[in-house]
């Protein structure tokens, strides 16, 4: 059993991670955390800094969860990276965080969540920030 979670350092990402931990513990499955960046800008705030990743590792280890953290920087967008990982690890569940987007914002920026919801081959659990 594998749970893939798309993580970004925001309240939504945090909510997704918490939910994913719960799911992983419930089924005793492996947790695959994806935190990616296209690597095209000098600064990307959605790419978690090293220190934060270490905190997450400690948190996962202390809960006794088998985990794998992936931080790809190869020019693919976040949706593609999550879907890739889900396929590669034969995920049974994808967990993502949702945030509110106006229709115009969605038109211009696109929606990572929407792509994952539509294109994933497994169940997708979408959570909101508490």
């Amino acid at each position: 059993m594998t749970v893939v979670v798309g993580y970004v350092p925001t309240p939504e990402g945090e909510a997704a991670l918490t939910q994913a931990i719960t799911e992983a513990r419930k089924n005793n499955s492996t947790l695959v955390l994806i935190n990616s960046s296209k690597g095209e800008a000098a600064v990307d705030n959605r790419f978690a800094p090293e220190g934060e990743i270490q905190d997450i590792e400690q948190r996962l280890a202390s809960q006794g969860i088998q985990y794998l953290i992936k931080r790809p920087v190869r020019g693919h967008d976040a949706a593609a990276e999550v879907l890739d990982a889900a396929e590669e690890h034969k995920a049974d569940l994808i967990v993502i965080g949702l945030r509110r987007r106006t229709p115009v914002g969605k038109l211009i920026m696109g929606s990572t969540s929407q792509r994952i919801l539509l294109e994933a081959d497994c169940p997708v659990l979408a959570v909101k920030a508490s």
């Binding site: 960046s37 296209k38 690597g39 600064v43 705030n45 920087v73 190869r74």
Partner: protein, 529 residues
């Protein structure tokens, strides 16, 4: 008094609504390119050259001056928040500035950098206004042999003193001189390096060369390293300084200015050496030496003041002698030529109003920069989140448009691409770009002075030594060229003596990239006669 009234006239010109608007555009653009690593004021001015042909020269130069000063301000923001220098003169700022930011004192670091830059820039510009006319008075008395010698000194000094490898510097200079030679010989009408191509007979347009080397070369280089692990900008609020910060900052500001201006004004100045000297001095004089390496405010205040004062200093030989010593000044000099203005000592008399309006606009630009940089620093940091593909696509578009618009010749686009590829290769093999640009721009003018000298002496090379100042300068050139060999010889005889001081100054610096940069700057400084 004459200076004063000319300067006031300059202010009157620079403060007309249109010119003021161009100053505002200039400082905003300048700060933006300063903040973004890889882009610099030289590239921006080169890209804007064709666009500004429609403008009055005064407005164009006011904008260029804003870009030049703005680049210096913007560079410090990136250095402090990201530990990646936005441009070469803020390498030293990153050492203490980033440590301060990591310790939660980013606001104070940005404030001391901005206010220090303002203080140094203002004092530097005032010194420029006072010194430049004096230099001009001295320069008018110089004949062709002395001019030739001074230009050779500038070229050799920039090539041999700055940068880490002399061989690479001279290779780059040679390329530049060769590009400068292309076209018709001005005296005999012979075609040189045209390869039978009639379109090359007029020579390569400097705009095309500058845009190719700076913009296309850099864009290709970035495209080759497009994806890099993103860094984290340290979040920052409104920059401000407490009372103790002011107390610790004002002396470094003034000392930094004192280092920066003369080094900027020297033919081999640049901003790298004075910023490093200022850093070392502040470290030695500080009452809080234990804070150095952990984020000492003096280590930000001094070097930032030094680089802005050096920027003002660089304009002194540029305006008074027509002698550029950094890339931006070189491109600005090319702009003078493309407007049909002859740079050199006669500039102050023939184009007095323009020059003084330019100097006045530097004062105005400095104030504008302080106003837009202090409250808006967090917004500038946001620029770093711009995806590079969009940015460089835009730059390539403007580069192509600009290169084509100069002569409306498709052939220029071929040259643009060929030289762009050359710019890429130079970055790939670590050749500095500055000697090439100086070679292209100064090469033809050096040749002109040489031909004049030889014509006057009827072809006798002894004419080159006909003026005492020329002889003095040749001695200096010889010293610059021979010093490294002499230094090596001395060191071989007394092995343990010299390098100790340099090593201890650098011992506390853990960051590898910055460290190697400093080594280069430091050893250059050691080589100076």
């Amino acid at each position: 008094m004459d200076v004063w009234s000319s300067l006031m006239d300059g202010f009157a010109t620079a403060l007309t609504p249109m010119n003021f608007l161009y100053a505002v555009i200039g400082v905003i653009l300048g700060t933006a390119v300063g903040v973004l690593p890889g882009l610099g004021p030289a590239m921006t001015v080169a890209l804007l050259l064709p666009v500004t042909y429609a403008l009055e020269p005064t407005s164009a130069f006011i904008m260029f001056a804003g870009i030049y000063y703005g680049g210096m301000y913007g560079g410090s923001t990136t250095s402090i928040l990201l530990n990646t220098p936005g441009e070469s003169s803020s390498v030293v700022t990153a050492i203490e500035g980033n440590k301060m930011a990591k310790a939660g004192r980013a606001a104070q670091a940005l404030a001391t950098a901005a206010i220090g830059s303002f203080v140094a820039g203002t004092i530097g510009t005032a010194l420029l206004a006072v010194c430049a006319p004096i230099v001009v008075k001295f320069a008018v008395s110089l004949g062709a042999p002395s001019y030739f010698a001074i230009m050779v000194l500038a070229l050799l000094a920039v090539t041999a003193v700055l940068g880490s490898s002399r061989l690479r510097g001279f290779a780059s200079l040679g390329l530049g001189l060769a590009i400068g030679l292309v076209g018709m010989d001005s005296v005999t009408g012979q075609r040189r390096l045209t390869f039978g191509q009639p379109l090359l007979a007029d020579g390569l347009d400097i705009v095309v060369v500058a845009v190719a080397i700076f913009a296309v070369g850099e864009a290709l280089w970035v495209a080759a390293h497009l994806r890099r692990t993103p860094l984290h900008a340290i979040p920052v609020g409104q920059p401000w300084m407490g009372k103790s910060d002011w107390k610790r900052s004002w002396k470094p500001w003034l000392r930094g200015t004192a280092f920066g201006f003369p080094f900027g004004a020297l033919p081999a100045g640049g901003a790298e050496i004075p910023t490093f000297l200022s850093y070392v001095t502040e470290k030695r004089l500080s009452k809080h030496p234990e804070e150095f390496g952990k984020g000492a405010i003096e280590g930000v205040a001094g070097p930032e003041a030094a680089n802005n004062a050096a920027a003002a200093g660089t304009l002194t030989p540029m305006l008074a002698l027509g002698l550029p010593t950094n890339a931006t000044a070189a491109v600005m000099l090319a702009a003078f030529t493309s407007y049909g203005i002859q740079p050199g000592p006669q500039l102050f008399t023939s184009e007095g109003p323009l020059v003084w309006a330019l100097i006045a606009s530097l004062f105005i630009g400095n104030l504008l920069l302080l106003i837009i940089n202090l409250p808006l620093a967090p917004m500038w940091a946001k620029l770093l989140q711009l995806p590079r593909p969009y940015l460089y696509a835009g730059i390539l578009f403007f580069a192509t448009l600009g290169a084509y618009s100069v002569n409306l010749q498709a052939f220029d686009l071929v040259i643009l691409l060929v030289l762009g590829a050359l710019g890429f290769m130079m970055r790939r093999f670590g050749l500095p770009v500055l000697p090439l640009i100086l070679g292209v721009i100064l090469g033809p003018r050096i040749e002109g002075q040489l031909r004049k000298t030889l014509q006057l002496s009827a072809g006798d090379p002894a004419g080159l030594f006909g003026e005492p100042i020329a002889v003095v300068i040749y001695v200096i050139i010889a010293l610059i060229l021979l010093w490294p060999f002499a230094y090596k010889l001395i060191r071989r005889n007394r092995p343990a003596a010299a390098p100790a001081a340099g090593a201890s100054a650098l011992a506390t610096e853990p960051d590898d990239t910055v460290h190697s940069n400093h080594d280069a700057v430091y050893s250059d400084h050691k080589e100076r006669p």
